[in-house]
């Protein structure tokens, strides 16, 4: 075997290394660096060890925003998944209705997130917003800027409007990949509509739904822009989700050390949940 040794190929990898270093490794390591030190600006640092981590883990403020975050994510998954699947099932499979539905469904996904927040802010204003005004005029006492229940309701409604389409599009793709023979066989076997959903459609959608749940979990768990524009975390701390709280701590109070520790904990929580979730969902795949 006479292979010429040529190490020049390494040069081709350098741009990727540089890129990854700048957009992931360096920022992450900076955060790690901050999380173990105290700084008062002008580049003066003092070693603090694990103090910030201990503080964050025992802080009631962190527990509260984590709790709000978990409840929020849980509620929107509970609404968006069944709703998304339901809409996908009723969408037409051929004809002019297909492009119309697909375009309508993609619209919310194409709107910039801060615009979504601003739109819903105006839409829900109790005095001049269409939603807020209508709710008040039919007898509800609705004011999302002052009542925490209303703030939650509006935030969840906004997220459902913004992101259910993603679940719809993924489910629709999953449904369309099912061979017609499955439906014909089920018809011959005398299966009911529910049986078809339970035994054919749902199992065949498993992969896209896993993806949908993962994406929706991650995105909603890290939600920032829309509630920032809509409620700013208020009223009080009612909709102060994890990332909002983190930004307040880091940029509002300039507590860089604790904020860095919180980011790392936050990051590990997301990673851990995704991993657990993925492992459970893919448990049977090896055998299939």
């Amino acid at each position: 075997m006479n292979k010429t040794l040529n190490q020049k190929a390494w040069f081709f990898v350098i741009p990727v290394f540089v890129l990854v270093a700048f957009n992931a490794a360096v920022p992450l390591m900076t955060v790690v660096n901050y999380s173990f030190q105290e700084t008062f600006g002008s580049n003066v640092f003092a070693w603090e060890g694990t103090r910030w981590f201990k503080e964050i883990l025992h802080s009631e403020r962190f527990h509260a925003s984590l709790g709000r975050q978990v409840i929020f994510t849980f509620i929107i998954l509970l609404i968006q998944l069944p709703l998304g699947i339901g809409i996908a099932l009723t969408m037409p499979k051929k004809g002019w209705g297909v492009p119309v539905c697909l375009i309508l469904m993609s619209m919310p996904l194409l709107i910039p997130w801060n615009v979504v927040g601003a739109m819903w802010n105006i839409f829900a204003l109790p005095d001049i917003g269409f939603l807020g005004n209508s709710l008040n005029s039919i007898g509800f006492d609705y004011n999302f800027t002052q009542q925490s229940g209303d703030a939650w309701f509006t935030t969840i409604l906004m997220d459902v409007w913004h992101w259910t389409s993603l679940v719809v599009l993924l489910s629709y793709a999953g449904l369309n990949s099912i061979q017609p023979a499955y439906y014909q066989a089920a018809e011959i076997d005398g299966a009911s509509r529910w049986d078809i959903f339970r035994y054919i459609e749902l199992p065949k959608m498993k992969k896209v739904l896993t993806l949908a749940i993962l994406l929706r979990f991650m995105d909603s768990f890290m939600i920032y822009t829309e509630p920032f524009v809509l409620t700013g975390g208020g009223p009080g701390n009612a909709t102060n989700f994890l990332s909002l709280d983190l930004v307040k701590m880091a940029l509002g109070q300039f507590d860089l050390g604790p904020a860095a520790a919180m980011s790392l904990i936050y990051f590990l929580i997301v990673l851990l949940i995704c991993w657990i979730f993925y492992t459970i969902m893919m448990k049977d795949e090896g055998r299939a």
Partner: protein
């Protein structure tokens, strides 16, 4: 169990039909006996799956009637028709066990647990699935899955007809033989009407007592494998069945006489009709012999397949294939050939003239 009659059946997938090409099926008339094994044979796109789906009730025909035991079934759905169908790709319910897959059609028809259990076990044994009965169906190999599809069709004792739509397409070649003989064996055991759709002539000819050959939405011939081989009624049957297919060559037909290569063939035909658009003579490669005199040909190529030799020759009207025994001495250069009169047919506009 049922005998199946199709009356003047036509089907089109377009709403307005202007020409023959708009029809997926044209004027299908079939009488199938109860308990028979039939095959629908034809190339892709000839309409055989359409016909099958009309019989099963998944499609409504544009025109014509479907009768089971002389009862009109045309507007009934597959459940009401009580039929079973096995598809090209194995259709299984992934999340269920093999047992539950087989039990599913019975459960939907409200049978008792005990009845279901005996039936499923019986079918499981017949298809050699007993050892995997409680495994998840999704974990099986392609042929295992196809056996489950087969089992779901066979498990109901009351079905009128079992239909197979190219069921062995995804099966490995060596398992094809096993499953094919299994099907034949099952047919003899349970004695139900079975319809088998395929584009593979070997599959059709080994499975069925009667083969229906389809071409461009029409039935061109129905017959036993031997009939299809010995006397093709349409030039399509001639070259679709057999390997190599029938030689079909231009000839003149006038006043009941066939003139080929300037020679009058001894065959007698009972038509004085002279106005065919295309006139052809057909002879299978198996029925051509080398002779002292006769049609003059040039030998172009000899390929020895071991069991016999395929000889390509050329005459003025075109190329002819000859199948000769391995031991036959093939002359080189030019030679004379003669056709076995018994198996030489004349075709006018592609249909046989007798």
């Amino acid at each position: 169990m049922a005998k199946i009659t199709l009356k003047n059946l036509s089907h089109s997938y377009v709403s307005k039909q202007n020409s023959n090409e708009d029809w997926a099926l044209r004027d299908i008339n079939i009488d199938w006996k109860d308990g028979g094994a039939y095959a629908l044979l034809g190339p892709s796109g000839c309409g055989k799956t359409t016909l099958l789906n009309i019989i099963s009730g998944l499609l409504r025909p544009t025109k014509g009637e479907v009768l089971f035991n002389d009862k009109d079934m045309t507007s009934l759905n597959p459940v009401e028709r009580d039929i079973a169908q096995i598809f090209q790709f194995p259709v299984i319910y992934d999340t269920m066990t093999v047992y539950d897959n087989l039990a599913f059609p019975l459960k939907n028809r409200g049978l008792s647990e005990i009845e279901i259990d005996t039936k499923v076990k019986e079918i499981g044994e017949m298809l050699e699935l007993t050892s995997t009965l409680h495994n998840k169906a999704a974990g099986l190999t392609a042929d295992g899955k196809q056996k489950i599809s087969l089992g779901r069709g066979l498990v109901r004792s009351d079905v009128n007809v079992i239909m197979f739509d190219e069921p062995l397409t995804v099966i490995d070649p060596h398992l094809k033989w096993v499953l094919r003989s299994k099907l034949k064996e099952l047919h003899q055991k349970i004695n139900r009407t079975m319809i088998y759709v395929t584009h593979d002539q070997i599959e059709a000819l080994t499975f069925a007592d009667q083969v229906v050959v389809m071409h461009e939405g029409q039935i061109v011939q129905t017959g036993t494998p031997v009939e299809l081989f010995e006397k093709p009624k349409h030039t399509f049957v001639g070259h679709f069945i057999g390997s190599p297919g029938m030689n079909i060559l231009p000839c003149d037909i006038k006043n009941g006489q066939i003139t080929f290569e300037g020679k009058i063939l001894p065959n007698k035909i009972n038509t004085m009709k002279n106005n065919f658009k295309i006139t052809q003579v057909g002879i299978r490669p198996e029925f051509i012999n080398f002779s002292k005199d006769g049609i003059e040909v040039k030998i172009k190529r000899v390929s020895d397949t071991g069991r016999h030799k395929v000889v390509d020759v050329e005459c003025r009207s075109g190329n002819i294939k000859i199948l000769a025994n391995s031991s036959t001495k093939i002359p080189s250069g030019s030679a004379h050939i003669s056709f076995d009169q018994k198996y030489t047919y004349a075709y006018g506009d592609n249909w046989i003239i007798e």
